[in-house]
Symmetry: C2
Subunit: 206 residues, 2 copies
């Protein structure tokens, strides 16, 4: 047993998890700019070089956070869908609103997962998590037709049409470019989002 007691042990027991937790919290509190390996390490009560063995370098930790971030994004979508009517179009809209809720609730993490350097290897786990979110959205779009995902011609364009709209809305919202009519208050964006998303997909149900 790896010493689950809260006392100071030389070996932490589950440091990788603890670092990711602390990193996520730090990210939410100070943003990506103020993110510091030393700070997250101190938060866990560990020296600043401890994470190196688990993540390689700082980019490795960022990657791990991105993986979690994509999972959080997916969670946010399904959570919102659970509160919506089971109608295919409403489910699609709900997933978009969940997407927006995640962006609003943790802007730094949201931006992090979409600004990973397209370097050599973004990490297979990260790509898998990203694909899971993408495929979920694709499934919602496909449900409009009642068919299997990607089964009809133009399916990819249709999915990207949805994704770009939701994502663009999220980014502009975070950048503070939705100001004039709807300011601040939570849920105020829903009406605008529905209009901006367009009605063409509502018509395609069935």
């Amino acid at each position: 047993m790896p010493k689950a007691s809260p006392k100071k042990a030389y070996h932490h027991g589950d440091l990788r998890r603890a670092i990711i937790d602390a990193g996520e919290a730090e990210l939410a509190e100070r943003g990506l700019e103020g993110f510091s390996l030393r700070r997250v390490s101190a938060r866990v009560g560990v020296s600043h070089t401890a994470p190196a063995h688990h993540f390689g370098d700082a980019a490795g930790l960022i990657n791990a956070l991105a993986e979690r971030g994509f999972h959080r994004l997916l969670e946010a979508m399904v959570a919102r869908q659970a509160t919506a009517p089971r109608d295919a179009y409403e489910q699609l809209i709900a997933s978009g609103l969940g997407y927006l809720a995640f962006a609003e609730q943790d802007p730094a993490l949201f931006r992090l997962i979409f600004s990973l350097p397209k370097g050599p290897d973004p990490g297979a786990a990260v790509m898998a998590a990203a694909d899971a979110a993408f495929l979920h959205l694709a499934g919602n779009v496909a449900a409009l037709h009642g068919a299997e995902p990607m089964a009809h011609p133009g399916a990819y364009e249709e999915v990207m049409a949805c994704w770009t709209r939701v994502h663009g809305f999220a980014e502009l919202m975070l950048a503070g470019h939705l100001a004039p009519p709807c300011a601040g208050r939570a849920g105020a964006h829903e009406a605008l989002f529905r209009k901006v998303f367009g009605a063409e997909f509502a018509a395609k149900v069935g």
Copy 2:
């Protein structure tokens, strides 16, 4: 005359401009992560504290770069429109393609202008530059109806519908999420963009 000769003068003569130029270049070459005041200062041949007097701190320089960035974005839109048919819908599409071209050509600057901290004062000049770009887009949308900008009900929603689509496309493109059909090659995105943008605006002409 403030000594326009290229020889070493204690006073640079036009340091503010030179720093912004160097900063823009550094940003394009090393990205926002690798951005360093000391590097841009060295590039101009000046000590690392020289910019402080012109921009305050690093955030001040970032703000100045953002202002230029919004101007570049506007330039890219009008440049693309100049090569397109004068039909209102084609002009709107062209402005979107210019938007995308700018994002593709200078990703770091593009991301910079849309990730300014919504802090106390983003700088009036930056906001003005951003508004100029926004109003240009709004003008293109209004031209679909032949009317003055924002003159009819639902105009704002319509403009935001366009903006979110273009912007979302740009962001997902930079994040590397347009992979499957269209990879890498320049201009390959145009066909996908036209489909994703939707046909509803083409129908509204007149």
